[in-house]
């Protein structure tokens, strides 16, 4: 079972990762006994499985994902929400307010076009269209904050092991952060300077997600920037 790269090497689509009895894991495909990468990322050789941790990826929704998106259309009894998926997500009235739809309901008064919502993916239609719900703590319309886009596959890095990264950022900056698995992050801070700092931190994580010791480096970066801010 030859493998053609070292673990965690950077690979691009088309790179032949392995041959033989490996299973083709995430971001790979098998053709004629060989396993090829489909996205740019770090190759991982696990027990009998080869996969790539993608550094760039479009958003592929999964049930249970928390997503942040904008309402783009209103249908009869539902809203269409752009969460960056291959299809616009559907939010039906019962999943938004816990009541079934009635003709006299004024949907734009509940969610209007342009509203940003935090929602959960509760189902995927057969063609992959995500069905959303805004029922639950922390879900629903967002009134304030700043939206930042990241590559969806880097969200686990932003969260860190058992939330270590995001908790550290929350503690150090005092900001509120809502993380959408679709790569949209909602940042809400009391002062503008902290908000700018969090945006810089997110950018740094986006660019360095593939490196090691990231949490410590981000911690150092925040401390350094806060020092600088105080000196000025």
């Amino acid at each position: 079972m030859p493998q053609y790269f070292k673990n965690r090497d950077l690979v691009v689509p088309g790179d032949i990762l392995a041959e033989g009895r490996f299973r083709a894991g995430e971001n790979t495909y098998r053709l004629g006994g060989k396993i090829y990468a489909t996205r740019i990322g770090l190759v991982e050789y696990g027990r009998g499985v080869v996969s790539v941790i993608a550094l760039r990826s479009n958003y592929e929704p999964r049930i249970g994902d928390t997503v942040v998106g904008a309402v783009v259309d209103i249908d009869l009894g539902s809203w269409r929400v752009d969460v960056g998926a291959p299809a616009l997500a559907i939010l039906n009235v019962p999943d938004a307010i816990g009541e079934s739809f009635k003709q006299e309901m004024a949907l734009p008064e509940i969610f209007d076009i342009g509203d940003v919502v935090v929602a959960r993916v509760v189902k995927l239609n057969r063609d992959g269209t995500p069905i959303l719900s805004t029922l639950g703590p922390g879900l629903g319309r967002v009134e304030e904050g700043r939206l930042v886009r990241m590559t969806p596959t880097k969200i686990p890095r932003l969260i860190g092991k058992k939330g270590s990264m995001v908790n550290m950022i929350l503690k150090e900056t005092g900001c509120q952060i809502v993380i959408g698995q679709n790569g949209v992050i909602l940042v809400n801070c009391r002062d503008k300077e902290m908000e700018d700092l969090v945006v810089q931190v997110l950018e740094k994580i986006e660019n360095e997600a593939h490196t090691t010791g990231l949490t410590n480096r981000i911690y150092g970066f925040i401390r350094e920037m806060k020092e600088k801010g105080r000196d000025e």
Partner: protein, 243 residues
Amino acid sequence: MSKKKLIVKGVRLDGRKWNELRPIKIEGGVLPNADGSAYLEQGRNRIIVGVFGPRELHPKHLAKPHKAVLRCRYHMAPFSVDPRRSPAPSRRDTELSMVIRNALEPALFLERYPRASIDVFVEILQADGSTRCASITAASVALVDAGIPMRDLVAACSAGKIDSEVVLDLNDIEDKEGEADLPVAYMPKLGKVTLLQMDGMLSPEEFDKALNLALEGCNKIYELQREALKSRYVKQGEGRSAE
């Protein structure tokens, strides 16, 4: 008709040898609003590509129930050539948009995204010959940058015949005054040719030579694509990541 000499003492007008590519610069991730993007310079060609999707296709009746629709638009800016050209799409633009789409499609897993579209928009800011190849090379990098899964990169390069010689990577004057132009796109790891056109005249032997030369060019450009993609993650002395 007296034609200008295009090769003088074994050297082409821009100083290249017969088998030499023009200087190439590729950069991924240049447009913040696009899902993926790339900028490419090849000689005096200046090309920018933006990719969007997979996203819901509008108008809906164009959507396919079993796969995504790949849409490509090749467009030349009015100032990209001399004299100025009309910004309206020409018949040539329509054909090129189509062959670029055909060249990229074999690399994509369109069946994974039913009813969606993947949109590739190519803007030629300055044209200097072999722009369809340069567009494919750049679009391929932009697709990777968009994180859209691909079977392989698509690298493209032209060969042709000027002053009775088979040469690599035609520039504008070589394309216009030369005897044949053979644009080729290739998926190097899969060994598949995805674009192959020719105008002009070649004997079967010359065609073989030109095709092989173009493929050599594709392989070199493929390495440049890889470097461009990787350079964003390997820099500032961070070296390779390792656990």
